[in-house]
Amino acid sequence: MTTMDQINEALSQIPYAGEIGIKSLLMGDELTLILPYKPELIGNPILQAMHGGVVGAFLETTAMVQLWLMGDPKPLPKPISINIDFLRRGRPQDTYARATVGRQGSRVANVRVQAWQENVRNPISILHGNFLTAADPKP
C-alpha cells in the first residue's frame, strides 16, 4: 500500500472530511491537505470570511491524518484538547495545511498544524493540540 493509498483510506473513514471536500497532496513524505473553496464554507458573508469552525475542523483533520500515517496499529486519533489561533481572515479561496508532530508518546501525541492560503509564511490559522492515538482501554 502506498502512502497515498493510506491517506485516502484515512480520509475515507472520515465522512465529514468528504463533506467539506478535503483533498490531499503528497510531496516526498510530506503531507499537505487542501480545502478547496466553496461558498458553504463562509462564516461571515459581509466580510466573505471563512467560518473559523471549518478552518479549525480542517486543521484538526490534518493532525488526525498525519498521526494516522505514523501509527501502527491504527485507530483514528481523537482530539483531547486543541487550541486554535486565528491570525488572518480566511479569504474565499483554497486553503492548505501541514502538520508537525512535536512528540508521539505511547498514547498521546502533541501536534502543531498551520493553515495558509497564498503563502506558507503567512499562516491564516495555527492549531496546537494533544491527540489520543491509542485505542480506548477496555472498561
Binding site: Q13, I14, Y16, P45, L47, G53, E60, S81
Partner: protein, 159 residues
C-alpha cells in the same frame, strides 16, 4: 443575520435556540455526513468546533453595547467524551467579560444534561472593522426585539 446563522452553519444544520444579553444557545441535530469515524459513527471533533465557535460568536455579538460583527481570535476546545451517535448536540455560550472591542466567552456542548458535557470551549472574539463602522445607536435594542421566539422545547433537550 447572525441569528439566522452562517452559510457554513446552514451546511451543517446548526439551529438557533435562544439568545439573551451575553448569552446564546444553538443546537445541531445528528447527521451521518458529519461523522468523524465511520466505524463508531461519532461526530467529527471539527463539527463541535464549528458549533461552539458559532455559539460563542453569537454570545459575543450579544454582549457588545452596539450591534457589531466579530471575528474569532482564539478558540480552545476540550473534548470530554465522544458524542453519542444519533443525539442532538446543544451548545450554550456565555460572554462573561466584554471590553470595548474584545469579548471573552465560555461555551459548553452537551446532549441535554449540562453536567455531562461532550466538550467545553474558551474563546476570545474581536469586533471587526466593518462592525465598527456601521453600528447606529439603538441597533442592538432593535435587533434583540426582532429576534425570533426561542423554541419552547428544542429538539433533543429534556422536557
Amino acid at each position: 443575520m447572525f441569528v439566522e446563522g452562517t452559510p457554513h452553519g446552514a451546511m451543517l444544520g446548526i439551529k438557533f435556540v435562544a439568545i439573551d444579553i451575553d448569552r446564546a444557545t444553538l443546537s445541531l441535530p445528528y447527521d451521518k455526513k458529519l461523522v468523524g469515524n465511520k466505524e463508531t459513527g461519532v461526530l467529527h471533533g471539527g463539527v463541535l468546533t464549528t458549533l461552539l465557535d458559532q455559539a460563542c460568536g453569537l454570545a459575543a455579538i450579544a454582549s457588545f453595547k452596539e450591534m457589531m460583527a466579530v471575528a474569532t481570535l482564539d478558540l480552545r476546545i476540550d473534548y470530554m467524551r465522544a458524542a453519542e451517535p444519533g443525539k442532538t448536540i446543544i451548545a450554550e455560550a456565555h460572554a462573561y467579560k466584554t471590553t470595548k472591542h474584545i469579548a471573552f466567552v465560555r461555551g459548553i456542548a452537551h446532549e441535554g444534561d449540562v453536567n455531562d458535557p461532550v466538550a467545553t470551549s474558551q474563546a476570545s472574539f474581536m469586533t471587526t472593522a466593518m462592525g465598527r463602522k456601521s453600528p447606529k445607536k439603538g441597533d442592538r435594542q432593535k435587533a434583540i426585539q426582532e429576534l425570533p421566539k426561542p423554541a419552547s422545547n428544542p429538539e433533543g433537550q429534556k422536557a
